[in-house]
Amino acid sequence: MKIIASYSIKGGVGKTAASVNLAYASAKAGNETLLIDLDPQGASSFYFRISAGKKDKRGYFFTQKNRLLKQIRGSNYKGLDILPANLSFRNFDIMLNSMSKSKKRLKQILSSLEKEYDLIILDCPPSINLLSENVFNAADMILVPVIPTTLSERTYEQLLKFFQNNGYKKKIIRPFFSMAQSKNKLHRQTIANMENRHPEFLKSIISFLIEIERMGVHRKPALVYASKKSHVQSYRTLFNEIVKILDKK
């Protein structure tokens, strides 16, 4: 079982779009896949037409496997399950703070799902806190969507620094360009510069596309309703690239 986190300190960079489509691509490729919606806003869950879990059951998440399993919902697609978001998720930090081994709780509970799933994808909220550190400890790969602009570049480098200062392995961070516009000169330049400076960037680039924005209307992964559009297919290419890297580990 492998764990991928779709993570960024910034919001609105395409984390959820990536999580949803990668999870679908994974299930379609025959992997038993679980998408965990860690973002209290619950966008991933919404895209899969699954309503949020009940509010008052926050305790289960880091402690009891059986209660965790009960919250899991099958999606409309074979092999793809969702652990829907829960408003109480916004209190994760307070909860974790009160626990021992507070940075490795997520890793512990996820590793107990080894028999049930081949791949777990974590759709993370935009922030850097105790929950994020749990994610860094649990994931085999931190997938970071980066919009090719100067500001995003800065945020990305902040993340690298955080990893360095706190003793996390930088190796597991794999950024990719998200919402890129090929007609935008600044985007093109930033891509060239950053690829130069950061060879860890994945080759697949996800373009800005209205079809992807429409996921909220369709309430399906873009790979389902626009699978023929080449820009949407990039998610599949991205997934294949990720699998190759994870297999090498």
Partner: protein
């Protein structure tokens, strides 16, 4: 989740429930969305031995000729089917299918048997999603019906399969309750049996090995008649397959059955009047001999791949003219044998022979005819084993091949006696004896096959004498083959001697003495 698939529930629908009523009822609780709806003519494929069924598998040939292979638990589930391309639509043996995955799956199950349709009908599968108002699927529902081709509107079987989606067990329970209220009932048999039962097909797994249960005290002649009768029945089960030339196993089993009849007559001859024995031997022998040539060619052609692989790759194709030659000969001979089995003459002969044994062979009493079966069994098995171990003890490196072959034949006789009388003795010990015997027979069998194959090729080579010189490469490759077979035969001979030494050692003699006695545990 990896564990969630198993909870499928199947329900059969009562005849008086219309599909419309069924769907309308579902609609009171769920939004019903039809995903796919297919209707096609299909066939269920099996071989003569029902080997797929025995392995809890089912193969279905679709209208487009592709074949889906399912495990019983996933019957009709598109995603778990092994889909087999069947481009030329005539494939019937495992080696006929182009896909190597399919070959590897089917090979150990079908062996040399051909697949053919055992049922043809119309299969309708409707895939429904039961959803909530948000469009979230709560339950997968599959509606399967099968109709006879002549009555496509009145299904003879209707089954609903509902598969729960993880996390929606409440809704699943609700659907189950609804189905029950509509009169749906869980089939009492496993999926394949309930399906075949509804179609009016009874699987009839078959093996040529007789399963006799002869009481120890039965008069010996009655027992022997029953053995022979059973084997004639087996022989006759294979007739139609030979007439239609479905696969080579029909002729093989036809011959094995006759061989067992002949073994029973020759080995247990004391139960019959002395002057009847040679006549019976002759009549059954004639039936077997008629098919010798076809069986020889069959065996040779079945081994084609193996022969080719003995040669360097560059020479393999040089053998093809010979195989083409034999395939032509086979066609002619198979037609002749098919006509012969279908002929009035054959039928009269086998009917006559069968009627002699069917109610016990009636003739004057003989020395052995009224003795207890177990006495006869012990006497014959002990004698045959003694003959083998005496001969085996004389074997050394200079013994002629013929002596080894004659031991092989005695072993076969012993094997048949064990088939006939197994139920009279302690099951565990019989199994141990059988294991030892099988190991020896396998080695002796390989040795014999190599001899026969070498001779077969040599005969073919002599026939080439009058052919023009362009066959020089065929002759060379034959030479290569003959010498390979000879080298292998020498090695195998050595193994035979070793196996014979084991089979005739003191502990095995002891095992035979202990096994073949009048035992209170038998039965």
């Amino acid at each position: 989740m990896k564990t969630s698939i198993i909870n499928d529930t199947r329900y059969l629908l009562p005849d008086n429930l219309t599909k419309k009523h069924f769907l309308d009822s579902l609609k009171t609780c769920f939004t019903v969305k039809q995903v796919t709806n297919t209707s096609e003519s299909f066939s269920i494929l099996e071989n003569f031995e029902w080997s797929l069924y025995s392995k809890k598998m089912m193969a279905i040939r679709h209208e487009n000729q592709t074949i889906s292979l399912w495990n019983e638990l996933n019957l009709f589930d598109d995603e778990t089917a092994l889909v087999i391309d069947n481009i030329n639509a005539r494939a019937k043996f495992w080696w006929d299918f182009p896909d190597s995955d399919a070959q590897q799956t089917l090979k150990p199950i079908l062996k040399l048997r051909a697949l053919y349709p055992v049922y043809q009908g119309i299969l309708k599968i409707e895939q429904l999603n039961l959803q909530n108002d948000e469009g979230k699927i709560l339950i997968f529902c599959q509606f399967i019906s099968i109709c006879e081709p002549e009555r496509p509107r009145s299904p003879i079987m209707r089954q609903v399969k509902i598969s729960p989606v993880t996390g929606y067990s409440k809704e699943h329970k609700q659907a189950v309750k609804l189905l029950r209220e509509l009169g749906g009932f869980k089939p009492s048999l496993p999926p394949m049996d309930s399906l075949l039962g509804a179609l009016g097909i009874s699987p009839a797994p078959y093996t040529v090995k007789p399963e006799l249960n002869l009481p120890a005290a039965m008069p010996a002649r009655t027992a022997v008649s029953s053995i022979i009768s059973t084997m004639i029945e087996k022989q006759r089960l294979n007739e139609q397959g030979i007439i239609n030339d479905i696969d080579t196993e029909f002729l093989h089993h036809f011959r094995v059955s006759i061989r067992m009849v002949r073994a029973a007559i020759a080995q247990l001859k004391e139960v019959f009047p002395q002057h009847d024995v040679p006549v019976l031997k002759q009549r059954f022998g004639d039936l077997a001999r008629e098919t010798n040539y076809l069986r020889d060619i069959d065996v040779f052609i079945l081994d084609k791949e193996r022969y080719m692989n003995f040669l360097p790759e560059s020479m393999r194709n040089d053998l093809l003219p010979m195989f083409n030659d034999f395939e032509k000969k086979r066609q002619t001979e198979a037609k002749r044998i098919s006509r012969w089995i279908a002929s009035r003459a054959y039928r009269k002969e086998i009917d006559d022979l069968q009627s002699l044994f069917i109610n016990g062979y009636s003739a004057v009493e003989t020395e052995w005819s009224e003795q207890a079966t177990i006495e006869l069994a012990i006497n014959k098995i002990q004698k045959t084993y003694k003959k083998i171990y005496k001969a085996a003890q004389k074997i050394n490196n200079t013994t002629p091949d013929e002596n080894i072959h004659s031991i092989r034949i005695s072993c076969k006789k012993l094997r048949y006696l064990l088939y006939f009388f197994a139920s009279e003795f302690n099951m565990k010990k019989i199994k141990r004896v059988g294991k030892h015997l099988k190991s020896l027979q396998d080695t002796l069998g390989i040795f014999n096959d190599l001899t026969v194959q070498g001779d077969f090729l040599k005969n073919y080579l002599y026939q080439l004498e009058h052919k023009p010189k362009k066959d020089i490469m065929l002759i060379a490759s034959l030479g290569g083959l003959i010498s390979t077979l000879y080298t292998m035969q020498l090695q195998e001979r050595y193994r035979c001697i070793q196996e014979l030494a084991i089979f005739s050692n003191e502990s095995n003699q002891q095992l035979f003495r202990e096994t073949f006695i009048v035992s209170p545990e038998a039965g």
